[in-house]
Subunit: 228 residues, 2 copies
Amino acid sequence: MSQHHHLSHRGCVRLVPIFNHLTEEQMDEIMQVVQSTTYEKGELIYRAGETSEVLTIVNKGNVRIYRLSDSGKEQLVRILGPGDFTGELALFNETVHEHYAEAMVNTSVCQISRASLQGLLEKYPAIAMKLLQTLSSRIDESEQQATRFSTESTDQRLASYLVDLMDPEGKSDVVVLPMSQKNLASYLGTTPETVSRKLKELEEMNLIKRLSTKKFKILDEDNLLFLD
Amino acid sequence: MSQHHHLSHRGCVRLVPIFNHLTEEQMDEIMQVVQSTTYEKGELIYRAGETSEVLTIVNKGNVRIYRLSDSGKEQLVRILGPGDFTGELALFNETVHEHYAEAMVNTSVCQISRASLQGLLEKYPAIAMKLLQTLSSRIDESEQQATRFSTESTDQRLASYLVDLMDPEGKSDVVVLPMSQKNLASYLGTTPETVSRKLKELEEMNLIKRLSTKKFKILDEDNLLFLD
DNA sequence: TATGAGACTTGATCAGCATCAATTTCTATA
DNA sequence: TATAGAAATTGATGCTGATCAAGTCTCATA
């Protein structure tokens, strides 16, 4: 693991929703206690089974969070971008990680220790509220994902995913897959072969149009959500 | 909705992990701000789409939390018992509920408003830590559930579920299904017919033995987790 | 710009499980 | 304890999507 301590934690603190509502002075105070670290593409930030004393916040780059099922199959849980954090389970519950966290590209993160965070929470209850908000939303997303797995067909999951990718303002009907079809398949709980076939089907039904390998135009949002 | 305000909130506050680490005086203080309410069997405590200002803590009884998928199918998310709480998404994020919460039997709950809770969090940061712990664990459970849906067969999910039911001390190898096969099917993302058939298969493989309708003896824990 | 490795596509096959339908068993309550 | 309504079982059938295999395409790098 390559660690470089430098002075640009500023981004981290300023970036994250859990801190960026604070005043300048307060953010400066937080910067005192965060540690900056970088990881090379492919490096693991943590592994399932390890303990840890820190919350990890992505500053620059992307991190792939995945799980192994009891039977050893890999499932992509989510992809972190700048401002997202991970490691809360091991941190708050003082247990081991259940995930693997892997840098997808060269990535810089900030880390804050349990003790420091606890101090901040006591001093600034607003931070706790932000954390509670974020975690509640994550529960919601994860439950929604579970519900989709258990009640919807692969077509529908893929179609919902494409619609979710559209920018919420609806300004653009062009979406770009943020990951390979292999990772997408893992995220959607299917295989790369099936993703490829289903994308083709959706195109044949004139619901989407492929613009390039990873770029698609959404032609008919309503019917995408109404498959079957 | 039948609401009875009475004086026995005591149980609620004493019961929940998020409060029961406090001193007697502190718990008394909290009792001042919680409201007790009862729901009859079958009553909805809240619906998806509603807003709400309260966190709901189960005092006595059971509450079924379920979701509807985009296409309208019902999925059981979890079942609350005494000490469990719900409503955090709508409360913390000031959005609408994404769930339905239904009393499975006559149930009494305590509710605490956003404003009161916020006050408590500021005064007692330890409560925030407990909430963060609980929510982190829930994320973990939900992600694990999603992973099981996406990577494991119905047999395996059912078998894992039975093993999870065993008391963690491993003192007893007899488990009792806490819900109907219909609800279990919904929880596991399958159909009642399939649950029935798979239970029969597991019994024919001598991995479990049915003692009564809802009671099973686990004969071979290791192989239950090693199906295939 | 050549080349190899990984990403994606396409085809053929087949197992798992949903669905529909018909009983049988359980259980709450009169 | 009788009985209706719900829950669970069992059977028959068909579809979805996994798997294996054999390509083709893309792109980073020498």
